[in-house]
């Protein structure tokens, strides 16, 4: 009989080891279909590593891809900590991007020292407000936020498409459904000349530190953790549970909104309806891989971004579909979910007679 014994407090070192092991296991499992496709596994992985780390350009591309993932990962992590299931980062990202475009394409003319912060603020606010609706529906009426946030993604994407076909369509865009370009004064500066990497990365890393600090050191963070771990006890202890949910919803939505700001004002320069290849959803994977730790989110986002960028490069070299990246990411998530069991329990194989715990 296999028996699970609960472990005591989990050391950070153990969490890191288990996360790394899960990532490794995912690579091993993903090698199986690669073998069937007739690839040399080592060669393919070598190509992936080269594609993500092989040159300064490759490396900065990987960091650029990681930037929105860090932010959507944080959005998921902070919400999930409070057991507020925000599945709507994708929609909040588009809302943030839309607000950035609304403010940053000429409606307001200000010097960049004022306009950039305004664009950032507008994007964060839009993301936060989008998440406020589902949060209020949850706290007031008990509506399941998983459903509302998920469905809002489609509502917002359709709204963005409508705006891009209508009022916000670029008249100079040759008929393409895209917004006017972000003004130079509103754009996030590049970090390196001739590379696409931009200040969004600094914002994302700053956000990760800020969320870490919030959860670990502040009264708000204490209340978020208490509500997430045992809402009944938190309410009984006088913690304002509803307010905490609203706070978390705003923070989470704002972080996802920031991801949209970075993509539109740092990378693309204008808004299209295919701005995000599912960064909002990948953020959930990032958060889970990171065990909902804000610092872990940074590393998990780097991992996922390396896989995506590396697989793109590998597929160009070998002709294997870059869907392999999705496969590895999915495997990694499954491995992490399984490894959570190892974190929380010791697994022992014992005789049939040992069974339940003895009280006290």
């Amino acid at each position: 009989m296999i028996r699970l014994e609960p472990r005591g407090p989990v050391a950070v070192s153990r969490m890191i080891v288990v996360s790394l092991a899960a990532g490794g296991a995912a690579l091993v499992l993903a090698a199986i279909p690669m073998l069937f496709a007739g690839l040399s596994v080592f060669e393919a992985y070598a190509l992936m590593i080269k594609g993500a780390f092989g040159s300064l350009f490759a490396f900065t591309e990987m960091l650029t891809r990681a930037t929105p993932l860090i932010l959507t990962g944080l959005a998921a992590a902070v919400a999930f900590r409070a057991k507020l299931w925000n599945i709507g980062a994708e929609g909040q990202l588009y809302a943030g991007a839309l607000a950035a475009v609304a403010v940053g394409t000429g409606a307001i003319s200000l010097p960049s020292a004022a306009l950039i912060p305004l664009v950032i603020f507008a994007g964060a606010l839009a993301g936060g407000l989008v998440m406020l609706g589902p949060t209020l529906l949850k706290t007031r009426l008990g509506v399941d936020e998983v459903v509302t946030t998920l469905l809002l993604n489609f509502v917002i994407l359709l709204f963005v498409q409508m705006m891009l076909e209508g009022p916000m369509k670029d008249p100079m865009g040759m008929g393409w459904p895209q917004s006017e370009p972000i003004l130079d004064e509103a754009a996030l500066p590049k970090l390196l000349a001739r590379m696409r990497i931009h200040w969004g990365l600094v914002i994302a890393l700053g956000a990760a530190l800020a969320v870490y600090f919030l959860l670990k050191k502040t009264v708000w963070g204490f209340e978020i953790r208490a509500v997430g771990e045992n809402a009944n006890a938190a309410r009984h202890a006088g913690i304002p549970v509803t307010t905490t949910f609203i706070r978390v919803g705003l923070i989470s939505g704002a972080l996802a909104g920031l991801a949209g700001v970075g993509e539109v004002a740092g990378l693309k320069g204008y808004l299209t309806a295919d701005l995000s290849p599912g960064f909002g959803y990948s953020g959930i994977v990032v958060a889970m891989l990171a065990g909902l730790s804000p610092i872990g989110v940074v590393f998990a986002a780097l991992f996922i971004a390396s896989i995506f960028v590396g697989a793109d490069s590998m597929s160009r070299a070998t002709g294997v579909s870059n869907y392999l990246a999705d496969l590895i990411v999915a495997m990694a998530l499954l491995c992490v979910l399984v490894s959570g069991l190892f974190l929380r329990f010791k697994i022992r194989i014992v005789g049939r007679n040992a069974g339940q715990e003895v009280s006290e």
Partner: protein, 514 residues
């Protein structure tokens, strides 16, 4: 009394049972005999090994050493270890504390569940019904067999459980804390029934920690302490104090309440109605004075939970008013009630008392997390929190590895100490203690009682919501009874006796309480 012919073969014999879990020895060389027609009380604190022993008897565990014998006719035969089926076939029946009934099935279906072969579904109902009706007639256990279990009262559900065992021709019946959920009257009825059952030679073991009922209803008492059997004595001639000391292993400090005059009114409820369904409050008046303990007696599920939630500030009363120190607090939030000096010991300490994943020190600070001693400009003052936690751990004897261990790793008694430490340390005005000793062992219970009395000495008003009449009679200055959401007028404890309270708890009208 018992027809315990000492010559007869025992119906059950445990011989030298030892069971270890890793380093812990749950049972150490325990031997026990049960004669036909005998009622044996198994006493012991939490963790003394009662449940392990019974689980070995039922084949849920296999003993590391020792054997179980079951007496059939005139000889003993060894029971196959580790097989619940063998135990059932040998006529060992068990009534668990938490009933194992399917709520949506009728009583009859529940009793037959598992006794019929798949191929004979439904066909044997007629003969089964006849057998059960005979059983009910003989034992006095009457239940309407066709009622869905969900509609039965707790006492009736227990009867279904007992009938289930008897239907399977049990010759040994084990009851785990059978009176935990019953009114005093129901308990008495239960023990009368059990006595009747022993007339047919049924041997009964009941597990309990209520000393009074053990003395009143058993023939013999076996006491377990730390896995060993420390006493096996006839009930006749034993007294509560002696039993308690055998159970705990040392003298138990008896909690004594000095009579004294109560002070001014602290907390007052006027015409409070709240809640719905079973947990409803109807027009409740309550007055709590400084320096008194006001007991609220009642069987669980008669509105106590809602009463506690209203006073806590978790629920706003639909009508009526509540004042604390003459200030209106009808609409006060939990935090406002805390700041006004209310201390709470919640009924369900695991659900409402602690956040299991957070540390002992965080749990000790959770109610005052926004107070200046715990934060500055929204930043937590960890070292101050931990230092205070270390002091409270010391003062309240909370057994934990350190102030940083997660609260979920602590035992129930120690979790209760966390709750006591954080609520009673700050000299509260009003203490709301809901079922404060539920599930605690003798030592922890006496600690809780002592601290409530200390709070009372300090001039606090204490509301003690409990199902345990002994606890209420010992601690309370006045007692009111709650039944179906209606709270009776509180009377001085001196003027009350168990019988009257029991009648009131049953609401006078319930026929089965008589």
């Amino acid at each position: 009394m018992a027809n315990t012919g000492s010559q007869s073969v025992p119906v059950l014999k445990l011989e030298g049972i030892t069971k270890r879990f890793g380093k812990l020895t749950a049972n150490s060389d325990v031997s026990l005999e049960l004669r036909p027609g005998e009622i044996l009380a198994l006493l012991g604190e939490n963790g003394a090994g009662k449940t392990t022993l019974m689980n070995i008897l039922f084949g849920h565990y296999v003993a590391d050493e020792g054997k179980v014998f079951v007496g059939t006719k005139d000889k003993l035969s060894e029971l196959q270890p580790g097989s619940p089926n063998a135990a059932l076939e040998a006529g060992v029946g068990m009534v668990h504390q938490h009933f194992t009934l399917a709520e949506n099935l009728s009583a009859l279906d529940n009793i037959l569940l598992g006794t019929e072969k798949l191929t004979s579904l439904g066909s044997s109902h007629v003969s089964a019904r006849q057998k059960l009706e005979q059983l009910m007639l003989r034992s006095g256990l009457s239940v309407n067999l066709d009622t869905p279990v969900a509609q039965l009262s707790v006492g009736e559900k227990q009867r279904v459980e007992i009938l289930k065992a008897l239907y399977r021709d049990a010759r040994v019946l084990v009851l785990d804390e059978p009176t935990a959920v019953l009114t005093p009257q129901e308990s008495e009825t239960l023990f009368e029934t059990l006595k009747k059952l022993t007339a047919d030679g049924l041997g009964i073991i009941f597990i309990s920690h209520k000393l009074a009922e053990v003395i009143a209803s058993s023939h013999r008492i076996a006491i377990l302490r730390a896995g060993r059997k420390v006493a096996d004595l006839p009930t006749k001639g034993s007294d509560q104090r002696q039993l308690a000391e055998l159970m705990v292993g040392h003298e138990v400090a008896e909690t004594v309440r000095d009579p004294k005059d109560a002070g001014d009114t602290l907390l007052e409820l006027r015409g409070v109605s709240a809640g719905h369904g079973r947990e409803v409050l109807r027009n409740v008046d309550l007055e709590l004075k400084a320096g008194e303990i006001l007991g609220i007696a009642g069987v669980s599920g008669n509105g106590q939970t809602t009463l506690a939630r209203v006073i806590t500030g978790l629920v706003t009363a639909a009508s009526g008013s509540m004042t604390l120190d003459k200030r209106d607090v009808s609409k006060a939030s939990v935090r406002q009630m805390l700041q006004a000096g209310l201390a709470r010991i919640p009924e369900d300490r695991h659900r409402d008392g602690v956040v299991g994943a957070m540390s002992v020190s965080e749990n000790l600070a959770i109610e005052t997390i926004r107070a200046p001693e715990n934060q500055k400009l929204g930043l937590l003052r960890f070292s101050a929190m931990r230092e205070r936690a270390r002091r409270q751990i010391e003062a309240f004897d909370i057994r934990c590895q350190s102030e940083n261990s997660p609260a979920r790793l602590l035992s129930g008694g120690n979790i209760q100490k966390i709750v006591l430490a954080r609520s009673l340390e700050a000299d509260p005005r009003v203490v709301l203690a809901a079922q404060p000793s539920r599930g605690l062992d003798v030592g922890a219970t006496s600690d809780v009682h002592r601290r409530l009395l200390v709070a009372r000495e300090g001039g606090a008003g204490v509301i003690l919501i409990s199902e345990d009449l002994d606890e209420l009679m010992r601690l309370s200055d006045r007692i009111a009874v709650i039944h179906r959401g209606v709270l009776s007028k509180a009377e001085g404890t001196e003027k009350l006796d168990r019988a009257t309270l029991g009648m009131q708890m049953a609401g006078h009208s319930e026929g089965d309480a008589a």
